[in-house]
């Protein structure tokens, strides 16, 4: 979607997925700020560990590795990222 869609939360694919899976967001152990930074640091080159460390540096808070992986799975299920 690079260069075609610009906001996850405003995208149809996100709205459809959340409508279909209303509990998906509640299960995530991530607040909005952390989610925003995860999206910013995903670039198809950085490792999950690098993304985790970067989000920690940006927010000054620990990031649970498993929670990050769950969020990446969520983004994959939405269709925002592929791996």
């Amino acid at each position: 979607m690079k260069g075609k869609e610009f906001s996850l939360e405003s995208s149809d694919r996100y709205k459809k997925y959340v409508d279909k899976n209303p509990d998906a967001l509640k299960k995530l152990n991530f607040d909005m700020g952390q989610r925003r930074y995860v999206l910013a640091y995903i670039n198809a080159k950085r490792s999950v560990v690098t993304i985790r460390n970067s989000v920690m540096a940006e927010t000054g808070r620990d990031v649970d590795f498993n929670a990050l992986v769950e969020y990446l799975e969520f983004l994959k299920a939405v269709g925002w990222i592929v791996y």
Binding site: G3, K4, G60, R61
Partner: protein
């Protein structure tokens, strides 16, 4: 005539109706929660029914309901960035004026006009006002100006300048952001002329210029031109760069590239601003170029005819949003972008954002900084690289020392404590 809205259509509040009403003016002080409830449930009030209210603020959902129930036809209020700095300015604003039975419009006037009306009412002078609006709606469409200076390596990543021609609604905007567009137009003109006469070679990389509707127009342009971001290495955005610094009590600023898109551009732009500062201010350092003996002269003044003799002072801060660079910094576009800006702006989003508040000297300096940054980025050669690395590394060390180390220290200090993560 007691107050006049001049010729600026945007001083009529959003959601007002077409009206032509002549009615007495009545001052209504701010309504607290209890008053709002009491008025909303009380029905028409003899004191206010059919009148126009002079108020401190526009009607919102709650006060609108109360005023409508009381029989008020409309609201006249003031709005200003800084009412004492410029009592004649009117800040674009709006309230809720649709969907009511009586309440149909809101007008925004200046602090001076508003306070004079209040004085009349407080003295007990009967005041009748005639309020007229004629509203038209036009279909919106995205129109952008796009230009370029072709490079010798058209398939390689180039540089883009951005500034917005308008912001999607009717308002004045000499500084916000005609100034960014005209400074870039001057860069385009000057570089094209120098290339055409052979003073400068054709750049290696293409330098693009995009002047759209702010943010929404930039996103639309990117969407309509698939693959365009892949042709870009950096974005230089200019927003409100024409304001006279001293008159405006402002400072020139630069928003860095965000941390997820680190770029040499921060250090390059900082070094150019630093050059203009050291040569256009009286810098009291041993290694600074000094002015001539016998006066506080700038070492190498960069002034423009009819412009100010202001010193150039600037401030660099971490990435912020609010303008077209965020479209490029968006990870779905991923082109590192900086923003040149001026803040505070005493005439921001007001009807006095007019050319007389601009400064040709400031615009010349910004044009120099922008043109030099783009030229270096579009022509980086092995000869330029050592200097560029020096600038980038100095900027990086300073930034780490000033900002990143204290932040890391604070995080480490709080880790495990109840305030962890409060930074």
């Amino acid at each position: 005539m007691l107050a006049r809205l001049e010729a600026d259509a945007a001083l009529v509040s959003r959601s007002s109706a077409d009206i032509d009403i002549t009615a007495d003016l009545a001052y209504i002080p701010p309504l607290d929660k209890d008053k709002i409830k009491q008025w909303s449930e009380g029905g028409p009030q003899e004191k206010y029914n059919g009148k126009i209210a002079l108020m401190w603020n526009h009607a919102n959902r709650d006060t609108g309901k109360a005023l409508d129930a009381a029989g008020i036809k409309g609201v006249i209020t003031f709005s200003a960035q800084e009412r004492y700095f410029d009592p004649d300015q009117v800040l674009y604003s709006g309230g809720m004026y649709s969907g009511w039975k009586n309440l149909q419009f809101g007008f925004t006037i200046s602090w001076r006009q508003w306070s004079e009306l209040l004085e009349d009412l407080e003295k007990g002078t009967p005041t009748t006002v005639q309020c007229k609006t004629k509203l038209n709606q036009y279909p919106d469409r995205f129109e952008s100006v796009f230009s370029s200076i072709p490079g010798k390596e058209p398939d390689k990543k180039g540089v883009i300048f951005t500034a917005h021609l308008f912001e999607g609604y009717t308002k004045r905007g000499a500084n916000d952001d005609m100034s960014g567009c005209v400074v870039q137009l001057e860069i385009l003109r000057a570089l094209s002329k120098l290339i055409a006469e052979g003073t400068l070679p054709k750049p290696r990389r293409t330098i693009y210029f995009l002047w759209p509707n702010e943010i929404s127009g930039t996103y639309e342009f990117i969407k309509q031109n698939p693959g365009f971001p892949d042709k870009l290495s950096i974005d230089i955005n200019m927003d409100m760069v024409g304001e006279a610094l001293r008159k405006n009590n402002g400072i020139f600023t630069m928003s860095e590239c965000p941390n997820h898109l680190p770029s040499y551009l921060d250090g390059l732009a900082d070094s150019l601003m630093n050059y203009v500062w050291r040569t256009n201010d009286i810098v009291y350092l041993n290694d600074s170029p000094r002015g001539r003996m016998g006066g506080q002269y700038f070492p190498r003044p960069m002034w423009e005819k009819n412009g100010s003799k202001d010193a150039f002072r600037y401030f660099v801060h971490q990435a912020t949003g609010g303008s077209d660079h965020i479209c490029f910094n968006n990870p779905m576009v991923a082109v590192p972008g900086i923003e040149f800006f001026t803040w505070p702006d005493q005439w921001y989003h007001t009807d006095t954002d007019t050319p007389d508040n601009a400064d040709p000297t400031e615009m010349k300096r910004v044009a120099f900084i922008g043109a030099a940054a783009a030229w270096a980025a579009a022509n980086c050669t092995d000869e330029m690289l050592p200097g560029l690395l020096d600038a980038v590394s100095s900027f990086g060390y300073a930034r780490v020392g000033k900002r990143e180390l204290p932040a890391a220290g604070e995080t480490a200090e709080h880790r495990g404590s109840p305030t962890a993560g409060s930074r």
